[in-house]
């Protein structure tokens, strides 16, 4: 299939359709609305479910319901809407049903603005709702990667019966870039064995099911503890299997820039320019924010002289990088807030400063 010039939000919606998404529930919010708009056209065309709910709270509970019936389901929103959905995310996690959420982040806190931001890293990665759980969090940096990750999101959600987030910022949602969409997937008519049918006499995959229960309530302390132990074991399994990241110029890098999403692609340009000026710098771009690629970073820290974390927030992933690197190397930070993007030359200047400092330090140590 040939490349097309696609807008991020539209590309993601169409990728979800082609990945076999059977139901979409959502509520409009900039800079994510084109995603919902595309779904409103495509899903009915294909005889699938599109519903614009009365609020984000309603939408996420519809997602919970559809997921409980074993339907391939998703929602999408932007920062304030995601805050409203958090109760539902926790119920979905507590019930172990698969669901996919796209968060096109904007500037906050509060209504903030509609410009690109990464200020909800902590919200999604650390505490997507109450209780002990983490969704898998994917952070693409191009439109092609967003398409590929959208397809992957559904597969991971079903494989682990978990919530999967794809986080973008307004820039990726709004920009256009050539990209290739996947072919339309065959719909899988078969429902998972745990799915609810809504009636005791209704058949599941052609036969009457055992009594299936989807719930997040476990009133006994031991019972809830046992459930949490099981959930943690699953999260450990995801951590072992699903870490993803991308590296460039990393082999001989003495300074490593760590950035994800749009900040990652801006940092990529800065690193390329700096390499032309013979600065030994490399880029480490986490693709999964949870599970975080901490082992790889810890390994890189054994020989890197310094790290620079670049984010469109006040420093959130920064703490995960510091934890991974430990005392092995200094971890500096460059952030932009309020919906502003970091510019390539800001990053280049910061790296140059760190590089000169480490060179001076090396001279002192020699003497």
């Amino acid at each position: 299939m040939a490349k097309e010039l696609l807008k991020g939000n539209v590309a993601i919606a169409e990728a979800a359709v082609r990945a076999g998404c059977e139901a979409y529930f959502g509520y409009p919010i900039t800079p994510q609305t084109e995603l919902l708009e595309h779904m409103s056209k495509r899903m009915p065309e294909l005889g699938r479910v599109f519903l614009q709910a009365e609020s984000e709270v309603a939408a996420v509970n519809m997602v919970y319901g559809a997921a409980s019936a074993g339907v391939r389901v998703m929602t999408s929103s932007s920062s304030p809407g995601i805050s409203l959905m958090q109760e539902g995310f926790s119920y979905i996690a507590g019930s172990e049903v698969p669901a996919v959420v796209v968060d096109v982040m904007r500037g906050g806190p509060g209504l903030g603005n509609i410009q690109p931001s990464q200020a909800d890293y902590n919200q999604v990665v650390k505490q997507a709702g109450h209780g002990d759980f983490h969704p898998i969090v994917l952070a693409p940096s191009t439109i092609q990667e967003s398409i590929d990750m959208m397809v992957l999101s559904f597969d991971l959600a079903e494989k682990y019966r978990t919530l999967v987030f794809m986080v973008l910022d307004g820039a990726i949602g709004q920009m256009m870039e050539p990209a290739e969409l996947p072919p339309m997937r065959e719909m899988n008519e078969k429902r998972p064995s745990w799915a609810l049918t809504g009636q005791s006499k209704r058949r599941l995959n052609g036969r009457l099911p055992d009594k299936n229960v989807v719930t997040s309530i476990h009133l006994g302390g031991d019972e809830l503890n046992a459930f949490n132990e099981k959930l943690q074991a699953k999260l450990a399994q995801i951590t072992a299997n699903e870490v993803r990241y991308e590296e460039s110029y990393i082999e001989d890098a003495e300074i490593i820039v760590v950035a994800f999403g749009t900040a990652g692609r801006v940092a990529g340009t800065a690193v390329k320019n700096l390499r032309q000026a013979n600065v030994p710098v490399g880029l480490f771009r986490p693709i999964t924010l949870w599970p975080f690629p901490e082992k790889r970073l810890a390994h890189l820290a054994e020989r890197a002289k310094a790290f620079l974390v670049v984010e469109m927030n006040a420093g959130q992933m920064l703490h995960d990088v510091r934890e991974a690197v430990g005392c092995q190397a200094p971890v500096e930070f460059l952030g932009r807030m309020g919906g502003l993007l970091p510019f390539t030359n800001d990053i280049e200047k910061e790296v140059q400063t760190i590089w000169r400092r480490s060179e001076v330090l090396a001279l002192h140590q020699q003497n």
Binding site: L5, A171, Q174, M176, E177, V266, T344
Partner: protein
């Protein structure tokens, strides 16, 4: 080689479409491109702009602090982008609406009466195409033929009757900007 181009003007001047056409033309000719609009509240009734990057390698940052080129279709856009264009860069100025000249001496400037050219050839609405023609005269990131072939493929069907007129506007813009240089 990477060229960053800001196109700025009033809402309704075809700023976003001109940028998309450039991006399509780059893509159709195997270049790497990004297109990103300003999508803030200022778009309603105020100024609109988009940034297009055309490159022979994958594009990193889709927005730049200092563009190589700014196409300014109204005065507020000139005020905003004149200080930002890279030294040695290019300003394409719509002299139909902007009566002042560019103060900077370290950038190339092409004054193009885009509204007048477009109006003479049928409709002032095609003025964005005159500006694109002028751009290609000064910065040959694509050929005139490549841009016009892309117009064949991507001009919305409801505007199909204006295809030939649009091409004439592009050519006139190109000719005017070439003459400016000579």
């Amino acid at each position: 080689m990477e060229t960053s181009i800001v196109i700025a003007g009033f809402g309704g001047q075809g700023v976003l479409f001109a940028g998309q056409l450039l991006a399509y033309a780059g893509m159709d000719n195997n270049l790497h491109v990004t297109w990103i609009p300003s999508y803030g509240p200022e778009m309603r009734g105020g100024t609109a702009n988009c940034t297009v990057i055309v490159a022979d390698e994958p594009v990193g940052a889709p927005i730049v602090a200092n563009p190589d080129v700014a196409i300014v279709l109204n005065l507020p856009s000139l005020e905003k982008y004149e200080p930002l264009v890279k030294s040695g860069g290019l300003l394409v100025v719509n002299s139909s609406l902007i009566t002042r000249t560019v103060a900077r001496t370290d950038v190339d400037v092409a004054y193009v009466p885009a509204n007048d050219i477009a109006e003479e050839l049928g409709s002032a609405k095609m003025m964005n195409m005159a500006a694109l023609g002028a751009l290609l005269a000064q910065r040959p990131i694509l050929t005139l033929d490549q841009l016009m072939r892309t117009l064949d493929d991507h001009l919305p069907a409801r505007k199909a009757h204006l295809l030939e007129a649009n091409k004439l506007v592009i050519q006139k813009g190109y000719a005017v900007a070439t003459a400016v240089l000579a």
